[in-house]
């Protein structure tokens, strides 16, 4: 028996969770001697009050869409991919190699290949933990955590050796001009709409396409059906002739590939060279985004924009007050805590409330469920 009506499950519970997270965040702001409402006003204004704000908000959101979708796809297969960070780092390596390998004449040629490179490298980094989970039963949460650290060590090494540009900084040379992605400023400028100079670039479109693609994948394809079935019950999947190995591998490859795509936005679209800290925690933000978005692409998109706004608003907050931008990390933590780990705190009282509104107990056969 479904204990909650669908609308409560999809909208009410996440809303209460989010509200709780924001209320506690407000208390934190108050505790460090700031006015939470003022802080909120600064953040909202900074994030969506101008084309500058929107540009940054959506730029961050693009990153979070990719990493959020990555976590969401794995969630559907009941796999907790905590390795988005490392997969995105490897994706950055893939994108950088593509951009540096060829003197690209035009971005329209470079973009598809970079997408391929980022996705392939990200997927490859997810493949090993996936294989170990599917064949050797190694817990994927732990292995992906370990792979995050290994990825960052690998990048550190490459950037002081093979890939290092002349000079002091551990980074590659700048990508060729032909691999530069058009920014929102240029795109909107071409059609006569003024827009501020921000890192927002055409990757945002790629992110939207990725959302649509994941939706089709999960709810319309046979693979998606099999991923969802496997995620709910592995014995049932085996019973239905769905290979657990194949689904674990495919789900994680897709997940890692999506995380790797983040580099198209961050590395190719913004940094335009490979540096050590190219992910900046976006891989972890993906966890919060997927949890809040209930692993649905539309939810992920909305949550990603919210987190993009938080990041941009947080930067403004730091600029205008003495609240450091780590405030955003706190909010992010609270969102993960309330929507992910403390979900039951909201859900069970709500279930009780809805139960009392239903009809009175009657004798009869219980729907057969396991506790």
């Amino acid at each position: 028996m479904d204990k909650l009506p669908r609308w409560a499950d999809i909208a009410l519970v996440p809303f209460i969770n989010l509200a709780l997270a924001l209320i506690v965040s407000g208390l934190v702001v108050a505790l460090i001697g700031q006015d939470p409402f003022e802080a909120l006003a600064i953040m909202v204004n900074g994030a969506v009050g101008s084309s500058y704000g929107w540009g940054y908000t959506l730029y961050y959101a693009t990153n979070f869409v990719f990493t959020g979708l990555a976590v969401a796809v794995a969630f559907h297969a009941s796999l907790f991919n905590i390795g988005g960070e490392g997969q995105a780092q490897l994706g950055a390596l893939g994108v950088a190699l593509v951009c540096l390998a060829v003197p690209w004449p035009h971005w329209t040629l470079a973009l598809p290949v970079a997408i391929l490179g980022g996705a392939l490298f990200g997927a490859a980094w997810a493949a090993i933990p996936a294989y170990l989970q599917a064949r050797r039963g190694s817990h994927i949460v732990i292995t992906t955590i370990m792979f995050n650290f290994i990825a960052s060590a690998l990048l550190v090494y490459l950037l002081i050796s093979a890939l290092k540009a002349p000079g002091m900084a551990p980074e590659t040379v700048r990508f060729p001009e032909g691999a530069r992605l058009p920014t929102a400023l240029e795109v909107f400028g071409a059609i006569g709409i003024p827009f501020s100079r921000t890192p927002l670039n055409v990757s945002f479109i790629v992110a939207l396409i990725a959302c649509w693609g994941v939706w089709v994948l999960i709810w319309r394809t046979r693979l998606g059906y099999e991923i969802r079935a496997f995620g709910r019950s592995e014995p049932a999947a085996r019973y239905a002739g769905i290979s657990p190995f194949r689904i674990t591998m495919l789900a994680m490859l897709i997940s890692g590939g999506l995380a790797g795509l983040m580099a198209v936005n961050a590395v190719m679209g913004e940094q335009e060279r490979l540096i050590q800290d190219n992910v900046l925690g976006a891989g972890f933000v993906g966890i919060a985004v997927a949890l809040m978005g209930r692993s649905h692409p539309v939810g992920v998109l909305l949550a990603a924009i919210l987190f993009g706004a938080l990041y941009q608003g947080g930067a403004e907050l730091e600029f205008e007050t003495s609240v450091p931008r780590e405030m955003v990390v706190v909010i992010q933590a609270l969102v993960i805590l309330f929507t992910g780990a403390l979900d039951g705190m909201v859900r069970s009282p709500l279930e009780r409330v809805f139960l009392t509104f239903r009809k009175q107990p009657k004798p009869g056969l219980a729907p057969e469920t396991r506790p």
Partner: protein, 321 residues
């Protein structure tokens, strides 16, 4: 590499292994009771901050230690609430705790000290001073063993010795006491504990709070023993290395000591040498640093003995008929 180098590396191995060991034993208590904890990192971090901050303000390291441990236990309580009382996902709760610590420490550091997310440098009574073991001076003349005893083993802060003593203590508690029996049982089959008339909830909370206590000591050692103050993200992944050590040790106390010494040794070596030159092969520093993680993956893959976690680990306990 001279003998003096070896002694120095051993000395810093012990130094660097200490926070790992405390955090590893912390994880051991929690996970043996069936509560997975990937939030060791966050608890260490918050303890590091509060111990340094309070030590800086009061000038008393012991007060700082108390504050650090208290903060870590508050975070442990949050993890307990989420994973025991509200039956949430233990892994997700751990992730949240790591972020909460990373954000809160910087936020409060900035608010209290306004020194760019760090505490003032600690000195004097605000830090743990080193203790000389008995006869360290006298025995230092003995060839080989003397210097190892006097230089590497002796001269650490009290928390190092507490960490080392925590190993036999953990073993004793786990395998020789009623509490240990129940703790191990609740990680394997909470139903058995519940039907035997013992509260699963209380046992798991106890384990989680011990975990908070030990991560508190680990964090305090980082900020007031190993370093002289708190800096942003100063745990630098140690919580995860401790987790790796726990798996490497297959959730056993003495093996945890071995694993933490090994991982501490790797850190010590990579701190000292930028590359390891063995003549034919040169091993880059980055590889040495990544080695604990690589070794853990190898262990998890079951190529060198299989690591099987406590059976009921990760699952909230729900009574069933």
């Amino acid at each position: 590499m001279s003998f003096v180098d070896i002694v120095q590396i051993l000395d810093s191995t012990i130094r660097l292994a200490t926070p790992l060991l405390l955090a590893c034993l912390a994880g051991l208590f929690s996970e043996r009771a069936g509560v997975f904890d990937i939030g060791l990192e966050g608890k260490m971090l918050v303890a590091a901050f509060f111990s340094a901050a309070v030590a800086a303000v009061t000038g008393q390291v012991w007060v700082g230690l108390l504050a650090g441990v208290g903060a870590a236990m508050v975070f442990a309580l949050i993890h307990g609430l989420a994973s025991i009382t509200f039956r949430g996902d233990q892994l997700i709760s751990g992730v949240a705790i790591n972020f909460l610590a990373a954000g809160m420490t910087v936020l409060i550091a900035q608010d209290w000290f306004a020194q760019g997310s760090r505490t003032p440098a600690l000195s004097g009574d605000a830090r743990f001073s080193s203790i000389d073991l008995p006869f360290a001076e006298a025995l230092s003349g003995v060839p080989y063993l003397g210097p190892i005893y006097a230089e590497a083993l002796s001269g650490h802060t009290i928390l190092v010795y507490i960490a080392l003593l925590a190993v036999p203590a953990t073993w004793y508690i786990l395998f020789r006491t009623r509490f240990g029996l129940r703790l191990r049982a609740v990680g394997e089959n909470p139903g058995a504990v519940d039907t035997a008339g013992v509260s699963v909830t209380r046992l798991r909370y106890a384990a989680v709070m011990i975990c908070g206590l030990l991560t508190g000591l680990a964090g305090a050692y980082l900020a007031t023993g190993l370093a002289a103050g708190f800096t942003k993200d100063m745990t630098a992944g140690r919580g995860f290395i401790a987790l790796a050590a726990l798996i490497f040790a297959k959730w056993r106390p003495w093996h945890a000591l071995g694993a933490c010494l090994l991982f501490g040794f790797l850190q010590a070596v990579s701190n000292r040498y930028s590359t390891l030159d063995f003549g034919i092969v040169q091993i880059p520093n980055a590889f040495v640093l990544a080695l604990p993680y690589i070794l853990t993956v190898v262990i998890l893959a079951g190529f060198v003995g299989k690591a099987i976690p406590p059976r009921a680990g990760g699952q909230p306990y729900v009574k069933e008929r």
